[in-house]
């Protein structure tokens, strides 16, 4: 009896959601187009194939992390541990490379998935705020990285392993593999989020976890899984980074990555309050951050700290516009 009414309700919230996300997503996309056109017109070195290729490569590592972060944020959570987890993946991957390529790929990803799982379990089972749990993760996992690297004194490197390195260093159609892998991660992420029951459950839990529970959705399991997804994404990113660099990275690597990832997700139109978001928007968000950074370096010859100011101001403009947009859609 009540089924038709329920469906109607779902359809309506879905349509308002898609309107909001469309506006925000197009916002990030629109700005990206404008910025790139300005870049092409005013900065000659920006539009070269080499520069665009390098920018895409540089962005791909944080892009993968941001894809995972999108799941967490849409579920109404936040993952502050990704910077430290990235360091764990980078160091473990270099450490494990002496045991072969598969160990260098599998162990870090498994370790990061496990770390995400544990954080998710603490958040879902003990009902502790995600901010605090992953803040502890940020501190504790960074400690673990320093422990593994003997207080940051050892810098494990990769003794030439053909397969593991070609994954990161090879290219296809002149574009480096990490870029393709990042795009693949986003494609899978888009499919899971928008075309599977799990993806719908993530959005429902983020919208309102009490009503999601009343609808019979496995709220706790969803919350645990999104943190595991974030862990896996970070693991992939760290492994690719080590494959590219050949190891030897500092134990401080990935510091403050959580901030860039959160910024990319937010700029991409996903609301930090959860429930509403777009993973495609995140892709535009992270691309935008890197394009702006590249333009500042290439064209305007500004210092790295002016660059910080510009990205901060930019972030602020976007979130204020977003707040205005989402309020408008609320009142409609």
């Amino acid at each position: 009896m009540t089924a038709p009414a329920e469906f109607a309700g779902t359809r309506r919230t879905l349509s308002t959601r898609s309107v909001t996300s469309l506006v925000s997503r197009n916002g990030a996309f629109g700005v990206l187009v404008v910025v790139m056109v300005i870049g092409f017109l005013t900065v000659p070195s920006f539009g070269t194939a080499d520069n665009l290729r390098n920018t895409a490569l540089a962005a791909s590592f944080l892009a993968i992390i941001s894809a995972g972060m999108t799941f967490v944020i849409i579920s109404g959570g936040i993952d502050l541990s990704v910077g430290s987890l990235y360091a764990l993946a980078v160091i473990l991957s270099a450490d494990m490379s002496s045991h072969g390529s598969w160990a260098a790929i599998g162990v870090p990803i498994a370790a990061c998935a496990f770390a995400g799982l544990v954080q998710g379990l603490i958040i879902a089972r003990l009902r502790l705020p995600p901010f605090i749990v992953t803040l502890a993760g940020l501190t504790g996992i960074r400690g673990l990285v320093f422990y593994i690297t003997k207080e940051g004194n050892s810098h494990p490197s990769v003794p030439g392993k053909p397969f593991f390195e070609t994954v990161s260093r090879g290219s296809f159609l002149t574009i480096q593999n990490p870029v393709w892998i990042a795009l693949a991660v986003f494609a899978v992420g888009w499919y899971v989020l928008n075309r599977t029951a799990f993806g719908q459950a993530v959005q429902a839990v983020g919208g309102n976890d009490t009503s999601a529970a009343l609808m019979g959705l496995p709220v706790r399991r969803v919350k645990v899984i999104v943190y595991a997804i974030s862990g896996v994404a970070v693991g992939i990113s760290g492994v690719l980074s080590t494959g590219l660099s050949g190891g030897g990275q500092e134990a401080r690597v990935g510091n403050a990555y959580e901030l860039s990832a959160i910024a990319a997700v937010v700029i991409g139109g996903t609301l930090l309050s959860g429930g509403v978001g777009s993973i495609v928007g995140t892709l535009f968000g992270i691309t935008l951050l890197y394009v702006i950074q590249n333009l500042i370096v290439q064209g305007f010859n500004l210092n790295s700290y002016v660059q910080q100011v510009v990205s901060g101001v930019f972030l602020l403009v976007v979130v204020i516009l977003q707040a205005v947009f989402s309020r408008r859609s609320e009142t409609e």
Partner: protein, 334 residues
């Protein structure tokens, strides 16, 4: 249903136990602090000395002062990620004004320089508050933008370099004592007392807690939400500036890429370990002080026992989760 029934039946038997758990739940941070102190008194060589206290008093003020502002912001249901960057900005402004012309400064008197640094903190706070209250941007993103941009602003002010400062007043800040207690610690203690009174005895205190409890209800009850929020973030900004000045005096230089680094995390940890819930509606000032002292003492203790820093970070992580778990609101209350 069954659990409720079992709960009622078991109540008389477990009453004493429940009392104990709720007693522990409310005083978790003090008990933990007492345990750490007790452990140190027994097992740490040279702990029972005035030197130890003095060292602690020299280290604590910046994080204590920033935590006080953070506690107020968290009480409103917000968060201020910009405090570390604000410390750097205040430090840079101080350096810009007080440094002689030879190092690209303005060579102005220290009083003016301090006033300008505090004003910079106030400006940052008012800005945060306005974005949160008027722009209705979520506090975490609103202050994130300043966390990203703020340190850049500080570096722009100092021209990207560390500026050494030799003003005699900074030496007074660094070394001044009254009855053997560091001046800066007295400032921190005074701020804690003021904040405590503010929370318990003033209209602003009631209002900020009301907003944190339920913003919509606060609006309906006629609480001036916007001005209250702006005031609270402004206080946090000014406190961060004070902490930035103390940190600068201790460092004898303004180093925008170092001053206040990760302070937002230490302050949030102190507040949360101290038992203030992150969702707002409650401010525990004494708990925050205890939380800040606990985290600092824990680090000192592990260091004194030759535990590597990496392990102490892992222990810290466990303590944070444990503290929040122990002090979580009981289900019946929620």
């Amino acid at each position: 249903m069954t659990s409720t029934a079992a709960h009622t039946v078991g109540r008389s038997a477990t009453h004493g136990w429940e009392d104990i758990t709720s007693w522990v739940r409310q005083r978790g941070v003090y008990i933990a602090l007492a345990l750490v102190i007790l452990y140190n008194v027994i097992f740490t060589a040279h702990f029972n000395q005035w030197d130890t206290v003095q060292l602690l008093f020299a280290q604590m003020p910046p994080v204590l002062i920033v935590s006080m502002g953070m506690a107020l912001v968290i009480g409103t249901g917000g968060i201020d990620l910009s405090v570390g960057a604000t410390m750097a900005i205040a430090s840079a402004v101080l350096a810009k004004f007080v440094a002689p012309a030879s190092s690209h400064g303005l060579g102005s008197p220290i009083a003016l320089a301090i006033a300008m640094a505090l004003l910079a903190g106030l400006a940052v706070g008012v800005f945060n508050g306005t974005v949160v209250a008027v722009g209705r941007v979520q506090p975490i993103v609103a202050t994130l933008s300043l966390l990203v941009a703020g340190r850049g602003v500080a570096l722009v002010i100092t021209g990207g370099a560390l500026v050494e400062l030799f003003d005699p007043f900074l030496k007074v800040v660094r070394q001044g004592q009254v009855f053997g207690i560091a001046d800066v610690m007295i400032v921190a203690a005074a701020i804690a007392v003021v904040v405590s009174v503010l929370v318990r005895r003033t209209t602003l205190g009631y209002r900020l807690v009301a907003i944190g409890g339920n913003r919509r209800a606060a609006v309906l009850a006629g609480v001036p939400v916007r001005s209250t929020l702006i005031t609270v973030y402004a206080i946090s900004g000014v406190f961060a500036a004070v902490a930035g000045l103390i940190a600068t005096a201790r460092l004898r230089a303004s180093d925008p890429s170092y001053i206040g680094l990760l302070m937002e995390l230490s302050a949030i940890t102190a507040v949360v370990v101290g038992g203030t819930p992150l969702k707002g509606g409650q401010v525990r000032v004494l708990g925050t002080v205890a939380g800040a002292v606990l985290m600092q003492l824990l680090q000192t203790t592990l260091l004194a026992h030759n535990i590597p820093n990496s392990v102490s970070e892992m222990v810290e992580a466990l303590i944070i989760v444990a503290a929040v778990y122990i002090q979580r609101p009981s289900r019946s209350a929620a």
